[in-house]
Symmetry: D2
């Protein structure tokens, strides 16, 4: 088996085999080179030009390290309690690698802004998320490259297995144990992007103790006696550190006010472009095609940052494209604190009314730093290690994590050319308050 | 005076004032956001997606640090020997900042590949270089933003001063002393890109001891008694280290064989696109407009990576664009060593003949690591510091620098679909040698 | 004026002038080379061998950067509101540099363990702290080196000024404004040690956004209208980050259980050594001499890590020295959580009783992460910048800071040779609970 | 099997097993905590306080990574050509770990200065080197801890195997293949110290591309058809980079003039202390005991930096100890360039004569950067990979390596109190030249 080494600024080298290389060479995956990880963040932080391609390789790498660390430490336990064999470990390892590699393969252009123009899923009456496109891409377009490589004769992994694993479907049975490596509060996705975004931007905020986390990751039982990924007691501050790193990155980078303005504008550009390219009769005009067929997914995957860049540049993106091109984005002239009180929210409402049609949009940057209940991080106490492996919840141990209030910051944006006017009105109004 | 702080992954924060901010906000400078520093290097090193915008800010920052370090140490000398006053220092500092900020403002898309489609300068009968476009951009398009800011009432700097400084014209008189900060073997340009490229790619190769360099930079006299930027004896290994860092970056990154293939393809795409957009009657069809008028420069600056990306994506870039889009770039199947002997060159020639029309192109990656003569780095010996300030040349001190042979590596590229065929022929031919 | 550059792993180079160099060359300061910053932490984290000498230079460097940042931004304000002139800035800058350089000059061997053998201050009926020795060292021993350097003719700074500044005495008048740079929740001391300890140990825990902090430090008014060092609103997350970094370093490094055992043993070794070297008639036998005279301070400063190392090695340190030499330190066999409940504390009490004389000592690792009230960090809201400069308190803005519970972790230590016995008893006892 | 994780600033965590932990806990190994890696370098670079204990763990770690990388890539080759089985790989891996862990266990205090007081080996008529003490320590004192651990029942490794491996004795047969991991121009020793010294000191000089080196290390045949550790062609610049990193570290750090003075003084202190502690009748008085018996080695290992520190501090180290304590080390007042010409050497000779008895010592800092012949680094060309695995020599490929001249810098040192006098004489003499 031949291996290839790809240089990576976070992990040094990322090693892939021939099969993985073919998957990476697939046009749908190569498309990720043309999607920036952080959309327009580089308008504020010039270093933030890195791609989802780079990130996806990193997620595969770190998910594998997590998997290996857990198996190294728990091989006997997993064999005796969950009937794993060495072959079973190997197959799940491959599954974890493919799923983590492909978790973002259906991402929209311009990251989460692109999700603003997702069509509605009739089943849920909510817009599709990029995860649905990733699954569809895997199922419809990558079946051949996944299933028919000689190396797969050792594992018989189906494209549907990968997609089902990502979707958390029971069909993948025992392998679901590993799903937390891809989707959880300690998953490889954020493990990677916190470090990577920090590196390219040049901040310390997203750095946490990955190495400590790796040596304390384990398998244990949750309160219902179900097997669950957990962190040994000795690592709970490392887990806490990752939560805090994410909190810091959101407040300092992802929710930066100019960045939010660009998110707004680009969503409108996308809507405009989609509308222009679709027939009037289309009931979901201005939205991406739904991830319900190979054809739709192919159409969807035509969209990438490059294409939109070119269209913006050549003047086809509508009024918001002009705004972007000239960097005349809307300006935030009033905002609440990150965790606003009712009074603050009411005042913002009043101001918004007072400013009337000057207001272009009121943005709400919302994120919770920690999810309780089923998604709480499981901590395995030292004294339970040898015996019942029962876990506690991180939120019961860490007062810091418990104390993290979700952000719900609102901001009022006005057009650049009316900023002065708005500020005067605002000053007058606040002076009167 | 208001200041603004821009986050930078190499230097932490880069501080700019209002005047500089207006210049940065000028559309011609903003265009640099849409030109990647390393063209297609990210096809090999995924982290290499950073822009010339980020780099240009960094060059201004480090050029200023160099300037300040020299003035701090040599204020008395410069006042007594070259008639500087404090106002003189301040004016030259501004000039250095503007020139370093704008040194790449006329850069072609896709970095140096873009220079392949530069028109000929009738005066020299050689193609224009990007420097000519930078100067023209400054003279023709940035006159207003440079000259008419209230802060400039303190200095009366003309756009022509900045351009002349970059061009090394005698009109800027004494200020030429500082030109080595922008163009020399220790200039701020490479001082920045070595660190920045290494950071985003994730290698150590380009790292050198910037801090030591800064505390040993000084002013002295060359052998003709002319004032010259120099390095104190205590810093000669730091200067040597920078030369070596550049050598390493070229052999490991800039001359990587796949990267070179993309340089080739993109130059052809540009040529194709230019041709398509120009009338048949144009005598320099397939080349950029010459930097000889405001209009031409405006036309030229329309070109950027975004636009070309979009055109490639939408199928208008010609056959090489298809190659790029599908990552089916030509493959290097035979190469000489970096410093080839005559025998090696002859053998390559023979192989090329043998392969005949399979060969798409023979690439020659050429660079000298060190320039002797007038461009040698001046080292101020400890014992001359106090008195005559006469310098030696680095090449006379460092056997490493002296021993660095220029690279002239040649490689034979064939189309991907004929790679196997070429390899077979090659094997047969070499077997017979 | 000549300058000297000292290489520093955190800040690159630290620049000092001739006067400062003489102070650094004073034997009392050179002694800091022989006091490890983190005492025996290297028994757990092998990289932690760095000295207070290195740290002290770092504190001077970063205090100066803070000072410069504040003055650069607030020169007009400080001139108009507090009657500063440029000379006043310069003099205070020198004072800040000397005080920060010398803040630890009277530190006991083995860091804070040494403070266990401090004699009682009759005035307060509490043991002296190392700060009292620093002040005494400055006043009694460094008067000449501080006051009589030619450079001091520009400032007329007395040794007493430096000591009074450190002690916060009103005699230094307006200069007290800067005392927060040396002693506060954002002081240069922790600004340095968090980064430095993290670097040498190899952890990320202590890293925070120093650069952001530097560009947001300012001067404002507290609620009583007194001038106060503050952080601009834009930097409140950076301030929060520093608090969190310290929290992480304490839980992960400074309060590590083995490290705490060594602190215990070395305090006893010091006590033993002091007793042996002192007459029986000495009422404070086994304690350091009080910092009340030049002679006493000289005697005190004879003590350093080297001397104690040698005595331990040559068998003169008593039983705890043998324990250290053979690495047979007492072992923690039971501990509460970091923030124990009353039940936990009661249980630990019971266990301690049950184990009886096996217990060597019960350690209480105690620290509060954030001090409220007068010591709360002042945050200057964006909207008050231009006008009244009234500040808020960080604890009112940051739910994270507010939620940080002080640690009061208790641990029961037993001798290594009775560890098994104690564990058996413990298991039996807990089994019965 | 239980594993333990030790935090390391270079590699994150270093993992050891129970057996290795017992070896590390052996007093002879713990002694390395009390030997600084770089002797008195911290007098010039304050960060350089790290210990050989830390370094030794690092060497084991990196030697293991090298071993694993080679076996991973060459398992089939080694099995078919050298009769390895999986058990054979495992046993050699353990041997490599133990040998690399213990390679410095017999190091003298104060690093290489301590070797100045090594007794003569009658067999060779040259002084013993620290390697001889390491071997003797392993054979005489660590036999039990190495041989009698339950885990060793899997391998039956003798203490003599470890010592013989380090000594390169044929008794270890095929395992000699791996000896280059411990002793060669690319060994784990320098692989570690270059990075570690750079980290603690705070320089970039010693950084090289370890990750690239690891993925290109391999096994091949030298010109005599003997198996040899080699570097794949793709890694030759990484190997070159390591050579350059070492060159830079020597010129910038290890050969720094003040550091050399301390080396001189401490060797004299050691000599003085040894003489004082030995009977007049001892024919090798003033030297360490020879590594020829368990008793001698035990006596030798009593010496460590701590003990000497204590003796220096308490005034027992003789005149050079006083010099050290007061930092009144001899000063270099004249030096040749690093690679002196005959004229320079003659001039230095003349100056030395002229200064006469003022000269305390003439230091010669000598090192060659690259060894040719048998020790040249083997490079495996791409085209030989698949077939004969014949290697070239790095010096034949790299003009940089070939051009590195050995340093032979000489310096004249005088006592601090006669520095002025010497400088005057020197100036007068040179004026007359």
């Amino acid at each position: 088996m031949k291996f290839y080494e790809i240089r990576d600024p976070i992990f040094g080298f990322i090693t892939i085999n021939e099969w993985e290389r073919e998957i990476i060479d697939h046009w749908a995956f190569q498309r990720l080179r043309r999607i920036k990880q952080l959309a327009w963040t580089d308008m504020v932080y010039p270093g933030a030009t890195h791609s989802r391609f780079e990130h996806s390789l990193g997620v595969m790498h770190i998910a594998t390290q997590m998997f290996d660390a857990i198996v190294h430490k728990n091989a006997e336990f997993l064999k005796s309690e969950m009937n794993f064999t060495d072959a079973g470990f190997q197959r799940d390892r491959v599954l974890v690698r493919l799923a983590s590699l492909l978790h973002d393969v259906g991402h929209a252009p311009f990251s989460h802004s692109g999700e603003e123009v997702m069509p509605k899923n009739p089943a849920t009456d909510k817009p599709y998320k990029h995860e649905a496109y990733s699954e569809a891409t895997i199922r419809y377009l990558m079946k051949d490259v996944i299933e028919n490589h000689p190396l797969n004769q050792n594992y018989h992994i189906k494209a549907d297995d990968v997609a089902d694993f990502l979707a958390g479907k029971p069909s993948v049975q025992r392998s679901l144990l590993w799903r937390g490596l891809i989707t959880s509060q300690l998953d490889a996705d954020r493990a990677d992007y916190l470090l990577r975004d920090s590196h390219h931007i040049g901040v310390e905020y997203g750095k946490y103790d990955l190495k400590r986390l790796l040596v304390t990751l384990t398998v244990a039982y949750d309160e219902n006696g179900e097997p669950v990924l957990a962190v040994e007691e000795g690592g709970w501050h490392a887990a806490e550190g990752l939560i805090l790193a994410r909190y810091m990155m959101f407040t300092q980078v992802y929710f930066q006010h100019t960045r939010r303005a660009y998110d707004y504008h680009i969503a409108r550009v996308m809507h405009h472009l989609l509308k222009e390219s679709q027939p009037c009769t289309d009931s979901q005009r201005g939205k991406f095609p739904a991830p319900t067929s190979a054809e739709n997914v192919k159409l969807y995957l035509q969209w990438n940052d490059w294409l939109v860049y070119g269209l913006i540049h050549s003047g086809q993106g509508g009024p918001d494209a002009e705004i972007i091109r000239k960097r005349r984005h809307h300006r935030s002239i009033y905002q609440t604190s990150e965790v606003p009180t009712v009074e603050e929210l009411n005042l913002l409402e009043e101001i918004s009314d007072e400013l009337g049609e000057i207001v272009c949009f009121v943005d709400e940057a919302e994120s919770s730093w920690y999810k309780f209940g089923r998604e709480d991080i499981s901590i395995l106490p030292e004294e339970n290690k040898g015996r019942n492996r029962k876990t506690n919840q991180l939120s019961a141990i860490s007062s810091v994590v418990k104390g993290l209030n979700p952000i719900k910051q609102r901001r009022i944006y006005v057009p650049l050319e009316r900023k002065k006017e708005a500020e005067d009105k605002l000053k007058k109004y606040l002076g009167g308050v």
